[in-house]
């Protein structure tokens, strides 16, 4: 499974498969830490002097996320009344996850969440978090689990997820592929 950091999706063009036109650009990734769920994207207009677009793009309207573009079936995916937009506009219950501490079930502090990791391809979803440990230059990747408990400031990694922690994104993609099934129910 190919993965991408949420922040690397920012700035990618949103391209319509129906027309081959770039209809927008990703401004920000909207993510609900409570549900470990990718909600969607806020958008900028394309072009040098472009500003923010009122329209948003719900995760369910994305046909694929790739390294070079976010693909939608047609421009109607970013219409003002497209499905799933209400979630994106009302973030009342969504909880930020960046900056949370990740604790293993046996009580060791693995570090701080610095990025959300998304699966690419069709039906993109959140599959993990990138975690930075103090005093170390590299980061590690922990899988998102439906059983993952989150408080205001801590995430607890379930015991069964520990085996799937990796230090590189490519290796994490392979680990996630075998860890996948419980994740998808909770992550979609």
């Amino acid at each position: 499974m190919n993965l991408v950091r949420a922040r690397d999706v920012m700035g990618l063009p949103v391209v319509s498969v129906a027309s081959g036109e770039d209809v927008a650009e990703v401004r920000d990734v909207v993510y609900d830490g409570e549900a470990h769920r990718l909600i969607g994207f806020t958008l900028n207009k394309r072009g040098r002097f472009a500003g923010r677009l009122k329209a948003v793009l719900a995760a369910g309207s994305v046909s694929a996320i790739g390294p070079d573009a976010v693909m939608v079936d047609a421009e109607s995916a970013i219409d003002d009344d497209a499905a799933g937009d209400a979630d994106l506009r009302d973030l009342g219950t969504a909880r930020p996850v960046l900056g949370n501490r990740v604790l293993s079930a046996d009580g060791s502090d693995l570090g701080e969440v610095v990025s959300v990791i998304l699966s690419t391809g069709d039906a993109p979803c959140a599959v993990g978090y990138e975690v930075k440990t103090e005093g170390r230059s590299d980061t590690s990747f922990v899988p998102i689990s439906a059983q993952m408990a989150l408080s205001g400031d801590n995430l607890v990694l379930p015991v069964e997820a520990t085996d799937f922690v990796r230090n590189d994104l490519a290796g994490f993609g392979a680990a996630i592929a075998s860890y996948r099934s419980p994740v998808l129910e909770g992550g979609q």
């Binding site: 190919n2 391209v15 081959g20 036109e21 694929a64 790739g66 693909m71 069709d122």
Partner: protein, 151 residues
């Protein structure tokens, strides 16, 4: 069946069958929204005054000249779709190729087409040829294609 390349036919003269007059030369093509068929040939002029020959008026796309049925057939561009093509905003050669999975696989180097029907058969990219049945849409940003293998 004769296959030609866009790069080879560029500049080929266009002659009216009824008057035997030269009415222009091949400057470019207006393609359908999927990029699979030629709708018209851009034969003269620029911008708003560009002259196109509808593919239906091509009586023969020959090795040395393109024969138009009548000297009355060429027309000035009539819509935004044709305008974006003759201005070079929506054109095959040089356009980025993007898969439906959002992966950039290079730019279009050339296009193969059947001279009898005006059907695009293959698109040549830096990473090799793409069969026309993989083409999804041609826009100002990209030629969107189906990926060859699951990404």
């Amino acid at each position: 069946m004769t296959i030609e390349l866009f790069s080879h036919v560029n500049g080929r003269r266009v002659v009216a069958t009824d008057t035997a007059e030269s009415i222009g030369s091949v400057k470019g093509f207006v393609l359908d929204p999927a990029g699979r068929t030629i709708e018209a040939i851009h034969i003269d002029g620029h911008g708003k005054r560009a002259i196109v020959l509808p593919w239906s008026s091509v009586s023969s796309f020959g090795a040395d000249a393109v024969m138009a049925s009548s000297s009355d057939d060429p027309a000035t561009i009539s819509d935004d779709h044709q305008k974006s093509a003759v201005k070079g905003d929506v054109t095959m050669i040089g356009t980025r190729v993007l898969t439906t999975g959002g992966v950039d696989i290079g730019v279009v180097a050339d296009v193969e087409f059947e001279t009898e029907s005006g059907t695009v058969t293959r698109v040549v990219t830096g990473q090799g040829p793409l069969e026309a049945d993989r083409l999804r849409s041609l826009g100002s940003y990209a030629l969107v294609v189906e990926p060859l293998v699951t990404e």
